[in-house]
Assembly symmetry: C2
Homo-oligomer: 121 residues x 2
DNA sequence: AGATATAGTATGATTTTATATACTATGTTT
DNA sequence: AAACATAGTATATAAAATCATACTATATCT
């Protein structure tokens, strides 16, 4: 049996950042949205709608607002007609990109091993 | 404006591993459960219950079953009274540990910067 | 004989998440 | 004059996730 060198109180305390991470990137679309914005430079609401197969406008709006409130995204509004809004990563959002990279690398190797990225040799 | 060197079809295809990852580690408790098992060597149902503040038995059971079905966890049943079951990472589950490490490192640095891990200098 | 321990299951209620549908604004194009 | 484009909002509904509560089994301890 493995030994546990942490006591109960420490274990609970240590868990806090993981809990926060869960609450911040949980949700059915968030890492996908961040992924599109970070790696494919998708910036427009309409394009995200087309990419995220099956999402509704109100759900996308809600997820984007939460990502904005949590500091990942910047939302630039242009006073034009028809309306134009561009989403981009904040500095904080950029800091999360290596985590996304680790996630996608693992997913491609272990979760979808038959998946072939056409841009890698 | 950033250029996008991927066409629409590729973008959708490329997204698949991220979608699967989302479906596999989404949910309110899963990365937390994996974290406890991987880093604190928690193996028993009852101990997980005590760690995961607020989770109910049925929810914990469901999450553990899903992690087992998705290949992350091994569930070893001992034919004893009172019942004894031990959870541990499979080889596949172990492959995910570096991702968990990246997640927690980012969370500690960026999400909970005031959090102090008592076991690091 | 009754309490204790562990790992659950069963049922139904509640909360959270997501969906469908209709609607808004207004400059430009047909 | 009507249609189009974009980025939404509003309202109501449905589906999924989670929770609360009560219950099961049975060897061992008191």
């Amino acid at each position: 049996m493995a030994e546990n060198k942490f006591n109960s109180k420490d274990m609970i305390a240590r868990c806090v950042p993981m809990s926060r991470l869960q609450s911040v990137i949980g949700g059915k679309w968030k890492i996908l949205i961040l992924w599109y914005i970070a790696f494919y430079k998708v910036q427009r609401f309409g394009e995200l709608m087309r990419r995220l197969d099956g999402i509704t406008q109100s759900t996308l709006t809600k997820q984007l607002r939460e990502l904005e409130n949590d500091g990942f995204l910047h939302r630039e509004i242009y006073k034009e007609i028809p309306p134009k809004v561009e989403y981009s990563l904040t500095e904080f959002g950029e800091s999360f990109v290596p985590v996304l990279e680790t996630m996608i690398a693992w997913s491609e190797s272990y979760l979808c091993p038959d998946y072939k990225n056409p841009y890698e040799k």
